[in-house]
């Protein structure tokens, strides 16, 4: 029966925490301004405080239902959302759909509508098809959180990356951030690019030409489409890319890329693109090393640096819960009806 739901530091005090909050769904960061991203990160700061308490639980979302709808396997993202929802007092259920909706015979739209009919307030969705979360959002008034849609976007991962970077550097404006690896197939890289450039970071993406998508270079777009993708630098030489970097992020390399003819071998990839201590010597002296996980040590990242003193990979995981709590909380402030368990 507590009325104290949120800690004070930087936290909103009413049940409508962010007056400027205008998002019903979290589909990607391409429609997030700097202020909005900072609102999420500030709210996540408050959530970190809750997580660090002895009993990490507040009733802010009591009576609300969060459904994790995962069409793809996931350990950390799913667990992270479950913990986030529970820490805020929401009812959380997780559904794993082993098969795609098509094989199952029930359409994605039907599934989402059924969940809404069961009073799901938030549906956290992971799906192998790019755009699946957008399709869901078009057909329900529940809030949709995109927990990864094909190679398109993974905005909650990007926000936790931004949160972790901000913890280390404060303002990210002007910081050089390098993402190395399979940019073409990386939903993390796509969402990170939007978030990082919105905060003023200088983003470099680096990988072999077969793993770099077309159109990222401004010269590959018509003039009218300049703003249609984030302004990033594209580099195929890892030494040049890492030069002076504040943040280096290695991306997971799937071994299928070799079978797909995109790479001669995983071994050659490792020789040319692995993030190693020797290469990190070119980075900024205060650099940090990140990885969205799960990582292949010895492929995209050398084992010693993955666990070395510059690595903040584990912090990323802890911060993931706080950032997802922040998002669930902020979405509740948008939704019709009201957040139950707020300051009433």
């Amino acid at each position: 029966m507590t009325t104290e739901t949120m800690p004070s530091a930087g936290a909103p005090t009413s049940s409508r925490p962010a007056p400027a909050w205008r998002h019903q769904h979290i589909l990607d960061l391409d429609n997030f301004g700097r202020d909005e991203i900072e609102a999420v990160l500030d709210t996540a700061d408050s959530m970190r405080e809750i997580l660090d308490r002895r009993i990490a639980r507040v009733p802010a979302l009591r009576g609300r239902t969060v459904v994790n709808l995962f069409y793809e396997p996931s350990t950390r993202t799913r667990a992270s959302f479950e913990l986030a929802g529970k820490a805020l007092g929401a009812d959380v259920i997780s559904l794993t759909a082993a098969m795609s909706s098509v094989q199952k015979g029930e359409s994605l739209i039907d599934t989402v509508r059924t969940l809404r009919a069961m009073r799901a307030d938030v549906i956290v969705m992971r799906h192998s098809s790019a755009g699946a979360a957008y399709l869901a959002a078009e057909h329900t008034d529940a809030s949709i959180i995109n927990a990864g849609d094909g190679a398109h976007a993974h905005p909650t991962q990007a926000l936790l990356d931004l949160y972790t970077m901000r913890q280390h550097f404060g303002d990210l404006a002007g910081k050089r951030v390098v993402m190395v690896g399979d940019i073409s197939h990386s939903r993390v890289a796509r969402s990170d690019m939007w978030g990082l450039t919105a905060l003023g970071a200088r983003v470099v993406v680096c990988g072999p030409p077969t793993l770099l998508p077309r159109g990222l270079r401004a010269s590959e777009r018509p003039a009218h489409a300049e703003s249609a993708l984030p302004p990033v630098t594209v580099e195929t030489d890892i030494e040049r890319a890492i030069e002076g970097a504040h943040i280096v992020m290695a991306l997971r390399l799937q071994s299928e890329r070799q079978q797909g003819g995109l790479l001669p071998s995983v071994g050659e990839y490792a020789r040319r693109y692995q993030v190693t201590a020797q290469r990190l010597a070119r980075a900024h002296p205060d650099h940090i090393l990140m990885h969205p996980g799960p990582k292949n040590e010895g492929v995209e990242i050398a084992a010693d640096v993955a666990t070395g003193d510059r690595s903040i990979i584990e912090e990323q995981v802890t911060n993931g819960v706080a950032v997802r709590m922040a998002l669930l909380y902020l979405l509740a402030g948008y939704a019709p009806g009201d957040v139950d368990g707020g300051s009433r």
Partner: protein
């Protein structure tokens, strides 16, 4: 004897070089006379006042998916031909990617039987390969004897170069055009839209223009080897245009068609819609089509090719789909646009934007496709695509100036899959006459 007189229209008949105010008189389903004041002399006729309107030969579509047999939940011969009539088309060439595919005499004959009661003329296209499987040749001679006017495995390319070579060679015995869907399957595997910056934004794998161009180049070389008639279906890229232009300059028997959507829309349609800003992303499966919508530079090259005759035909690639095929995840959604009922209005964009004049647009919708496939050499099709005296009276009556809004829910086609819903187009088909019978008429058209 039944007589119908259309009065006081601007008659545009590019096949006969006519463009001027005239009356058209139809007797017993055939064109009787075309000329100034011809209609006034006729007594006891039904009359249409076409003052301020344009009268042209009925449009001829070299590329229509009627979906019957096998996919009648998407479209039937009845609904597809009704949609054709609403779009001003009086002849549609039916693609054979049905179930079963049109790879046998019996299959062609069954389509023709069903088409006897259809709203407009249906000319079936037979498969190039048995079962569209790309492994063995379908019986071209049998298919032609049954009534096939061309061969195509459309929906898929004939990927095997040797088989394609033999298909082209074999077709020369029958004079049948081979209409090829040019996209190399290995280059478009898992691709769902044009490869470029929009696909990158959307996280979708692309179908590069080079997948089309490499196959256009290959097939032109094979056609030149055999002297066969190669028809490039739905050309979509500037690079393909350059290849076709060069082949034709060498004298190769290569013809080509382009769709209204490739002439106007770009890959941005998939993600942003018309005139939308770049912050609101969507995954519009109604703009998913193969080959994909490409870039502004491709659109410009296609328009130039249509203007100078390198591409002589506009074809709709009308590809109706049911809602359940489209209202799903983008990568599993069916590809195709329901195009018959918007074709004229969409193509009028080229006229209003100054790329083509109206008579040339009409040419590319009428006599252009007829000549590309020499359809008027078929028995019973003499004068097809024209208003020549004695020809079957197939006519479109157009209002090129009227503005209207596309409402897919009101389509006669069962396929409401168009990215144009809600868009205003200029230029409308107000009436269609097939074999002398009014098969489509807007309420606004007055009878005298």
């Amino acid at each position: 004897m039944s007589t119908l007189a259309i009065h006081n229209a601007r008659v545009i008949d590019p096949g006969l070089g006519r463009d001027g105010i005239a009356d058209v008189v139809i007797v017993d389903g055939r064109i009787s006379r075309v000329g100034p004041d011809e209609g006034s002399a006729v007594i006891d006729a039904d009359r249409i006042d076409a003052t301020g309107l344009v009268v042209t030969p009925g449009f001829v579509d070299l590329h229509t998916h009627l979906r019957e047999p096998g996919f009648t939940y998407k479209e039937t011969i009845r609904t597809g031909t009704a949609a054709a009539a609403a779009g001003g088309f009086t002849t549609v060439c039916a693609m054979p990617n049905t179930n079963p595919p049109l790879d046998s005499r019996a299959a062609i004959e069954s389509v023709l039987r069903e088409a006897e009661t259809a709203t407009v003329r249906v000319l079936p296209i037979g498969c190039i390969t048995r079962g569209r499987a790309g492994a063995e040749l379908a019986p071209a001679g049998e298919l032609q004897a049954a009534g096939a006017v061309a061969l195509s495995d459309d929906g898929d390319a004939v990927a095997d170069p040797s088989l394609m070579r033999h298909a082209l060679e074999y077709s020369t015995a029958f004079g049948l055009p081979i209409s090829q869907h040019c996209e190399d399957p290995s280059l478009v595997r898992d691709g769902h839209m044009h490869e470029g910056w929009v696909a990158t934004r959307m996280g979708l794998r692309g179908r590069p223009a080079s997948a089309e161009e490499t196959m256009v180049a290959r097939d032109i070389a094979l056609a030149e080897l055999s002297g066969a008639h190669l028809h490039i279906a739905h050309v979509s890229s500037a690079g393909s245009v350059a290849l076709i232009r060069a082949a034709r300059a060498r004298g190769a028997h290569v013809t080509a068609e382009v769709t209204p959507h490739h002439l106007v829309l770009t890959h941005e349609e998939v993600a942003f819609g018309f005139g939308a800003d770049y912050t609101h992303l969507r995954y519009n499966t109604d703009a998913k089509v193969n080959p994909p919508l490409r870039e502004h530079s491709d659109v410009a090259a296609l328009r130039a090719a249509l203007r100078d005759g390198v591409i002589e035909a506009i074809a709709t690639d009308h590809a109706p789909h049911a809602r359940m095929d489209k209202e799903i995840e983008f990568d599993v959604a069916a590809a195709g646009i329901s195009g018959l009922e918007t074709a004229f209005g969409l193509c009028m964009t080229l006229v209003t934007e100054g790329d083509l004049d109206l008579p040339l647009l009409i040419e590319r919708l009428t006599i252009g496709p007829v000549r590309a496939w020499q359809l008027d050499r078929q028995p019973g099709l003499e004068g097809l695509g024209t208003l020549a005296p004695g020809a079957v009276a197939d006519i479109a009556i157009l209002d090129p100036a009227t503005r209207w809004t596309v409402e897919p829910a009101r389509f006669l086609s069962m396929g409401r899959n168009t990215p144009l819903g809600g868009r205003e187009l200029t230029g409308q088909v107000v009436a269609t006459i097939a074999a002398g019978r009014v098969v489509h008429r807007l309420e606004s058209v007055a009878a005298l």
